[in-house]
Symmetry: C2
Subunit: 418 residues, 2 copies
């Protein structure tokens, strides 16, 4: 009895003190999120400026792609020498969020992934940027763990904040960044415990990057048709196609990586060899439209019909680039793949071109990364609120049909999809 009385009292006292506890919690995480946001947003800003510079350089002087094997070797050698622990990239982040250990992410991960992503884009690899931003954000944020003496549970929140800050600031989408960071470590689960810190870090990072003068690609505000049985059914069908593309992409990436790891024992040779193969492909294709981020093609997809095989070539080149060991993210290539696939579906489905392209843009990513809510929010942030319902359907169906694997091998299954 005395024990239960004490417990009762302390719980009542706890209730009384609750507002103070919550205010302290908010204040503490506001400070930490501000730090993480400032660091992550600044890192993204630097990254985006440099990425623009190398992309411009490559486009002005496309002969630089002859350095693909050399650039590949350099990337491979840098990771072989300095980055053995951080080579797992996003998967390392995911593992630490799932089960925080006492081993901090090495700070060298940040400059390493930054430099190697820039090399990848300079010589003409086909890659993205969110992986780089998330890894920089995560690795830099993690350096605060010691400084602030955070417990493992708080370190997890800190890492989520780092990812949220990186993702939000690199795409200019704070809500998608927040939910992506909460959603990406486990399939079918959101880490609500980190909701407040992740949102604050995302908003601050986006604000900081904007303050540094970063400008994001502007996509059209998509007008949507009234929902009928036909548009509804067409959206479901499109979602299944987007899931297929996501599956092919994940499958190709895994297999290319496995092939190189098995066949080439000296790690730095893998991207060198892969770079050579890429070079051959680009020369045979006779175009540079499939390398780099591919933003011009993504923008064009919203306006004019494109060749229906664009998405397949982009899948192949990106799987080759990232599978052999070049660095960068998967997301912008996935935008490219989805947008061009949506474009290709346009003659066959009774939906406006713009809408199909926008749905593909987010839905292939939703299927490959298993992040349907983040991708729905991304559509809303990039294409406006009216696109939300169609985007949600496409993302959710792509998520369902993409199966229980994806681009992040370390994701665990929190809840089955069906």
């Amino acid at each position: 009895m005395p024990f239960s009385f004490l417990k009762n009292l302390s719980s009542k006292f706890g209730q009384r003190r609750q507002p103070v506890v919550l205010a302290l919690y908010l204040g503490r995480w506001l400070l930490i999120s501000a730090l993480v946001g400032a660091i992550g947003g600044s890192a993204s800003a630097l990254f985006l400026v440099l990425l623009d510079a190398v992309t411009e350089y490559r486009e002005a002087d496309p002969w630089i792609i002859w350095f693909l094997p050399a650039g590949g070797f350099l990337v491979g050698w840098l990771y072989h020498t300095w980055g053995t622990t951080s080579a797992a990239g996003n998967n390392l982040l995911i593992q630490e969020i799932q089960k925080p250990t006492r081993h901090l992410l090495p700070w060298v991960m940040a400059p390493l992934v930054l430099g190697c992503t820039l090399i990848t884009h300079l010589v003409g690899g086909s890659a993205g940027r969110e992986g780089t931003a998330a890894q920089m954000g995560g690795a830099l944020a993690d350096q605060l763990t010691k400084l602030l003496r955070l417990r493992p549970r708080d370190r997890r929140t800190l890492l989520i904040c780092g990812v949220s800050a990186g993702f939000a600031s690199v795409f200019g989408t704070p809500l998608a960044g927040t939910v992506f960071a909460l959603e990406f470590s486990t399939i079918g689960k959101i880490r609500y415990q980190a909701l407040v810190p992740a949102l604050l870090a995302a908003i601050i990072a986006d604000g900081v990057a904007t303050a540094w003068g970063v400008e994001h690609t502007l996509y059209p505000t998509i007008e949507v048709p009234a929902l009928t049985v036909w548009t509804f059914g067409a959206t479901l069908l499109a979602g299944i196609c987007f899931a297929l593309a996501a599956r092919i992409f994940s499958w190709a990436s895994h297999n290319v990586a496995a092939f190189f790891q098995k066949q080439v024992l000296y790690a730095p040779l893998r991207p060198a060899l892969g770079g050579g193969l890429l070079l051959v492909c680009i020369v045979l294709l006779g175009t540079t439209k499939y390398i780099g981020l591919g933003i011009p093609t993504i923008v064009a997809a919203f306006e004019t019909p494109l060749p229906p095989y664009d998405f397949l070539i982009k899948i192949a080149l990106t799987a080759l680039t990232l599978g052999c060991g070049f660095k960068g993210g998967e997301v912008t290539p996935l935008f490219f793949i989805g947008a061009t696939l949506g474009n290709a579906l346009s003659p066959w489905l009774p939906l406006p071109l713009e809408l199909l392209v926008g749905m593909g843009f987010v839905a292939v990513f939703a299927g490959a990364a298993n992040t349907p809510l983040a991708c729905t929010l991304m559509a809303i942030e990039l294409f406006g609120a009216p696109s939300g319902v169609y985007a949600a359907m496409a993302c959710v169906v792509a998520y369902l049909f993409s199966g229980h694997t994806g681009i992040y091998g370390s994701q665990i299954i929190g809840n089955s999809k069906n």
Copy 2:
């Protein structure tokens, strides 16, 4: 060995068959969701039309409020006679979603909550409509359980679909309806397993209600200021105020209900007595602006300064109405409370009136129902995508500060908020 071989084989076979399994899953839930959506959407449409009619009648002839005690007795008597099992309302739904039993929700729940909500609004109670829509959707959907011979796990998904359909169609917000249905049964958790069916049911129900000619209140598209330290800080402060209002509302509702249950033993007398008290309050206040849904005041809050005590009076009258046993939802009163509180905060905080009102509209609800993501989506669907970041901050902070209780006593804690 032979066992593991068999397991391997069957898992490989499972992988092969996966697309077929998923297609069957989608097809099955598409049919069920279409049924639930059609039923829930039609029920909401009927409800909204009748609700408009009784509201018009009351506004044309306000003397009907003298029937508050009689109406209260009728509501109490109807539930006492026919609705003992369904009196728990939303909490019953929550319990069945958490742990599906073999006892179906009684179909009588649907006409009962519909009729009693209409009586409540006719005689001038202060109440909402989402509880009614969710309970009609849930109870009607549950009747399919036997017809389709669903297993308990599928029955849970079916109930979530019913709530999703009801919520989406009564407010015209399919995305908020989906996430609300996934979010509301457990604090800090989303039921991803039901993602696809809930979204389909929401979209179909909203489409069906629209096809029946239902029109929803149009709120202004909110323009937002650039994010600065001041607007950021003001939003956090506003979020804390909204949480406070949510706490006061939850506290008042629970206590009024407990008071009536303890002091008045014959259940039908509770709303009769409560109705009498309400009548006295309304006569003393000398205005009918705080009764019914209160949509005109919500709309006015976006445009002109209102008395700063509006939200308190609405809290008191709603807690009295629902606590003594009248029927209806909590959400529209929570919109009223949040909108008028946002309006009242406007002279003190460096944010535009419209934005503060819109944030309050969703954030008090987010705090009281513990559904921050659904409420963020609701802001986006009602006020446009640009309001999303501010609304998210307000909702998330209101969610954090509202504590681990809320208007739904049966909610369990899935994940701590801090």
